[in-house]
Structures are given as structure tokens and as C-alpha cells.
């Protein structure tokens, strides 16, 4: 009798195989720089973390059932704000990062407020339009309002200060590696808790059926706006990291549609609307994209884009909710096999079932 009642709790205490797998991957990430010193390989890891972070931030809007295809704009704004503040006033990017974050949070609310009231593709269209307008504006503006030196399509070079942690600059890859890893973990943690708080239940309700959600006292516009604001703040912080890591930011790459699509792709392939989906998506996509670009980019330009497209088609056809769900189910089946039929009962416990909620 006890056992039946405690079923849910026991499942929570007993760490499922997917949990062990995630823990093992994390432990591996923590020690990678101890035995890999090749800067290029570390660079690939940094990209994995950065895009996992950006994808996780992006998926917070996805959890509200909204598709943003303009998140690059927020990377651009975050990166430009911190870089300009550093160039012009000598303000450390650590501080500029926060200013960019707050600014993007406000921008997110301004974009979301009118469009979240409409149903259909209007939000997605607005985000594309916003990012593209911003990109075209910055590309063609040498000097913005109040004399801000935007430098047009040339982009901004972050003034080099050598190994200076105080201004977010390091001479080796390792500090960036750990900062990116920490940002990724923080985003995953936030997403994890949001999913377990009231907010997560509300977002799931809103994306499932907005009318039913509103009938249950959920102000859907408000919760979408909160999700959007958090997502925008996080993405802007990623923008500052981007600028500091590459020491260069330009509108074409940082604000362009291809960046927005890359972020969205990481989420869609991994499983948007799930906590770990974007991370899995990034682990799969970022290295393959980078390697293909590095080794085949010279001979077959644009091949990585073809591969991305192909992968996206396969995922949408066969795994419309991303790789995350089937991956967790496969791990559970493996687990059931390893520990015998006793485990099967717990596999269906609600805590673990929530994980692969599409």
C-alpha cells in the first residue's frame, strides 16, 4: 500500500537513466579543458554551449506556444550595447551586459504586447520584421541618433585589452569555455524551475489551448509577455558573450535571419518546449555545422546550410516534437531492460513523464 502511494515520490528520488546520462555529459563537460588544449576543439565546445544557451532562452517563448524567428536582433542589441558602452565610455561589458539585457527585456515586451493578442503567425512575422529592420538600419547607419557610432555594415571591434577579466577579455579559450558552460547551465536551471512552477503549468496550458487556459483564470497575454521578457534578457546576455568571445560584432552575422534560424533550429531539432531539448539540439547541430563549414566550406560553400535543411526536414517528418522525447523514451526502455520489469511501473510516473511533454 505504501509503495503505491509513494510511487510518484520514489520516482523523483530514484534518478532515471536519462538523469544519469545528463549528469555524465555534464561531468565530461567540466573536465574537457583538462585534457583537450586544442583551441579549435575548445572553440567548438564553446559554440555548443553558446547555442544551447541561446536555444534554451529561445525555447522559453516556445513553451508559450510562440515561434520567434527574430531572436538574432536581441543578440545584436545585447552585443552592440555592451560593446558601444565599452568603446565610448569605458564601461566594463560585465555591466553593459546587464544594461543590454534590461533593454532587450523591454523591447521584448513592446514586441509581444500587440502581437500576443493576435492568434496565428503574427508574432513570428513581427519578430522577423523587427530583426530585419534592425539589421538593415544598422548596416546602413554610420552614426546613429545622439552620435552613437554604429559603423554600419563594418560592425564593431571590441578594443583589445589582453588578459583582462575585469572587462570580459581573456587570452585563452578556457575562461570562455567555463563562462559559456555556466551560462548554459543557468539557462537550463531556470527553464527547469519555470517548468515546475505555476508559470510552467500556465505556459503548457496556454500553448495547448488558450481558451481553456483563459477560462481557468490564466491571463495568457501576461504570461506570454513574462516568458518573452525572460527569453529576451537571456538572449541579450548571450549577445554580449558573443561580442566578447569573437571580439567583433557586425549586423549581418549577429542580427541576420540566418542567426535567428540557427537558434530556432537548435530548439526545433532538439525539442522546443522541453527543458533539455535545445541543449541536445545544440550538441548535435553546432559541431556538425562547424566541422562541415571548416572542412568542406572551401570546396562546397553553403554545404552546411544544405545539411541543416536536410536535417530539419528529417526531424520535422519523423520527430515533429524533436529528438529529446524519443531519446528519453529510448533511455527508459533501456533502463527497463537493464533493471527488469519492476522498473516499468516507475517509468510511467508523472515526474518523469513531464520531461518529454512536447
Amino acid at each position: 500500500m505504501m509503495e503505491k502511494k509513494e510511487n510518484g515520490k520514489m520516482a523523483r528520488k530514484k534518478i532515471p537513466l536519462s538523469g544519469w546520462a545528463a549528469g555524465a555529459v555534464l561531468a565530461l563537460f567540466l573536465i574537457v579543458p583538462l585534457f583537450i588544449h586544442n583551441p579549435y576543439l575548445l572553440h567548438i565546445f564553446v559554440l555548443v554551449f553558446l547555442f544551447a544557451y541561446l536555444g534554451t532562452a529561445w525555447s522559453l517563448v516556445g513553451m508559450a506556444g510562440q515561434l520567434s524567428l527574430g531572436h538574432a536582433a536581441l543578440i545584436g542589441i545585447g552585443g552592440y550595447v555592451s560593446t558601444l558602452m565599452f568603446m565610448e565610455w569605458g564601461v566594463t561589458p560585465w555591466l553593459g551586459m546587464i544594461v543590454g539585457g534590461i533593454l532587450c527585456g523591454i523591447i521584448g515586451v513592446i514586441i509581444g504586447y500587440p502581437t500576443f493578442r493576435l492568434r496565428g503567425p503574427y508574432f513570428a512575422l513581427t519578430t522577423i520584421a523587427f530583426a530585419e529592420i534592425l539589421r538593415i538600419y544598422v548596416e546602413n547607419t554610420e552614426e546613429g541618433p545622439l552620435g552613437i557610432p554604429l559603423r554600419g555594415g563594418m560592425g564593431l571591434l571590441v578594443p583589445l585589452k589582453g588578459d583582462a577579466p575585469g572587462v570580459f577579455q581573456f587570452s585563452t579559450k578556457e575562461p570562455y569555455y567555463y563562462i559559456a558552460l555556466l551560462m548554459m547551465l543557468a539557462a537550463i536551471g531556470l527553464s527547469f524551475f519555470i517548468n515546475r512552477w505555476r508559470m510552467g503549468y500556465y505556459l503548457a496550458a496556454i500553448r495547448s489551448d488558450q481558451d481553456a487556459a483563459e477560462a481557468l483564470a490564466i491571463n495568457s497575454t501576461k504570461y506570454k509577455l513574462i516568458a518573452m521578457a525572460i527569453s529576451c534578457v537571456l538572449t541579450a546576455l548571450g549577445g554580449t558573450f558573443y561580442a566578447q568571445y569573437f571580439r567583433y560584432i557586425n549586423p549581418e552575422r549577429a542580427m541576420g535571419l540566418s542567426m535567428s534560424i540557427e537558434i530556432a533550429l537548435v530548439g526545433v531539432v532538439g525539442g522546443w518546449q522541453t527543458v533539455l531539448g535545445p541543449t541536445i539540439g545544440s550538441i548535435l547541430l553546432s559541431p556538425s555545422g562547424e566541422l562541415v563549414r571548416a572542412y568542406l566550406g572551401g570546396t562546397y560553400a553553403g554545404l552546411h546550410l544544405c545539411l541543416y535543411g536536410l536535417l530539419l526536414m528529417v526531424v520535422i517528418l519523423f520527430l515533429p516534437n524533436g529528438i529529446n522525447g524519443p531519446l528519453i523514451r529510448a533511455l527508459k526502455r533501456l533502463e527497463a531492460k537493464m533493471w527488469g520489469p519492476k522498473m516499468i511501473e516507475k517509468v510511467t510516473a508523472p515526474e518523469t513523464a513531464k520531461e518529454d511533454k512536447p
Binding site: R196, W197, R198, Y201, Y202, A204, A205, S208, D209, D211, A212, A213, E214, A215, L216, A217, I218, N219, S220, T348, A349, P350, A353, K354, K357, P358
Partner: protein, 241 residues
């Protein structure tokens, strides 16, 4: 004092008049039935009480408060819960999670919402389904889920839109019994129903709508014997069930 008053309500969609100069009131603790042929305006009326539509003119007053300009989520927070004629479960969530969403309207804490949701599920004798996903339920269980979710918001007034539709004859008496128990908890019920047998046994008062206007109002016996009502629709329908 009436818990709900509807005064001179009007609503048209384009040229179609859905509700015309409609008045009604519901007393606290009553079970009131709303009947009428298809297209009579029952669901439209529901949607206006729950503020999914705003009326063209007229007022809806709940516990002395005019609901004009309110949104569905305001109305629910005030204490009006509704179910949908076409059920709207959150399909990728379990029954428990579905009901917790309703319970969250009174608490921000997951453990309290879970406790309340489990209480409701037990009350509706639904707890053995708590881990079933919304899209794996039978139609009858969808109805029960709608009811559980609505009850989890701890309403004063419950609007039930065709809860009996799609249930088989053996499931109906059980649900009627549950609805009576809901009323015994002090919740007022306003039900739209096509199942005449259910309406006649459940409701204390019946309002009959026809082409957006009130045709008859009174006890089930009175409405059943009203010649106008029989002429409009009750005759054949009641005779066959």
C-alpha cells in the same frame, strides 16, 4: 440576493441575432437548466456570462458586480468557472496536471495546487486516472476532466455546457449524482443541456430559449407541459428519450 443577473442582453453576429433582450437571474445554490433547440443561443449566452464574448448591449451582473469589459480570466478569478461543449483538455499533460492548472488560480505553490487537485479528483472519483495523459482519455473522461478543472478554480457559479453529451446511458446517473454533490458544496450551477431526462431530474428551474429569446421559464414540470415549449421543440425530443 441573486448570484447572477442578466439584464436586457443582446448579441448579434453580423445579421444574425443570437440573443435578443434576454433577462434571467440565478439564485445562490440553485441548479438552473438552460434548454432550447440548436442555435437557440445557449452557448452564446454562456460565452457572454463567462466574458468570452462581450454583449452588444445589456448587462451581466455577478454577485453585484457588473462584468462589462472583463476578460475570461478576470471572471474566473471572481468565481465563475465554465466547461466547454467541445472539450478542451491540455492533451500533453496528465489529468493531475490539467486539474492543477485550475487549482493554481487560488495558489502560486505547486504543492498546494497538487493537493487541491488530488482532493478534487478524489471527490469526482477520478484519482485512478491522475497520471493518464489528456489525449488518452475517453470522451466521458474528458467531460469529467473539464468538470474537475473547473471545480479546481473553486467557483461560486459553475457553467456547464452539455456535460452529458456523448456519455452512454450508464454513465449519466453517476455524473448527475456528482453534480448534485457539487451543488451541496454551495456551488450554484447553470447548465446547458440537450439531454431532457438529465435536465428534468437535475434542475430545479428551467429557462427555455428559442431564437435568442426566453420562451418559457419555470419548474421542469411547468416547462414540460407548456404548449409553446412543446411546439418549439420539447415534444418530439422528450418523447423519444
Amino acid at each position: 440576493m441573486s448570484i447572477l443577473e442578466v439584464k436586457k442582453l443582446n448579441k448579434s453576429f453580423g445579421g444574425l441575432v443570437a440573443i435578443h433582450d434576454f433577462d434571467m437571474s440565478v439564485e445562490k445554490g440553485e441548479i438552473v437548466g438552460l434548454i432550447g433547440p440548436n442555435g437557440a443561443g445557449k452557448t452564446t449566452l454562456f460565452n457572454m456570462v463567462a466574458c468570452f464574448y462581450s454583449p452588444d448591449s445589456g448587462r451581466v451582473i455577478f454577485q453585484g458586480k457588473n462584468l462589462a469589459g472583463m476578460k475570461p480570466y478576470h471572471v474566473c478569478a471572481l468565481g465563475i468557472a465554465r466547461t466547454f461543449q467541445v472539450t478542451k483538455p491540455f492533451v500533453n499533460n496528465t489529468v493531475l496536471e490539467n486539474v492543477m492548472v485550475g487549482a493554481f488560480s487560488r495558489t502560486a505553490h505547486s504543492h498546494e495546487a497538487r493537493k487541491k487537485a488530488l482532493e478534487i479528483l478524489e471527490f469526482l472519483e477520478f484519482q485512478e486516472h491522475k497520471d493518464v495523459l489528456g489525449n488518452e482519455l475517453t470522451p466521458a473522461d474528458h467531460k469529467r476532466l473539464e468538470l474537475a478543472r473547473a471545480l479546481a478554480t473553486q467557483p461560486r457559479l459553475l457553467l456547464l455546457d452539455e456535460t452529458m453529451a456523448g456519455l452512454n446511458p450508464s454513465e449519466k446517473p453517476h455524473l448527475l449524482e456528482l453534480l448534485r454533490r457539487v451543488r451541496d458544496q454551495g456551488i450554484t450551477l447553470l447548465v446547458v443541456e440537450h439531454d431532457m431526462k438529465a435536465v428534468m431530474t437535475l434542475c430545479e428551474r428551467i429557462v427555455m430559449l428559442h431564437r435568442g429569446e426566453k420562451l418559457v421559464e419555470g419548474t421542469p414540470q411547468r416547462v414540460a407541459n407548456d404548449q409553446q415549449a412543446i411546439a418549439a421543440y420539447l415534444g418530439e425530443e422528450y418523447a423519444t428519450t
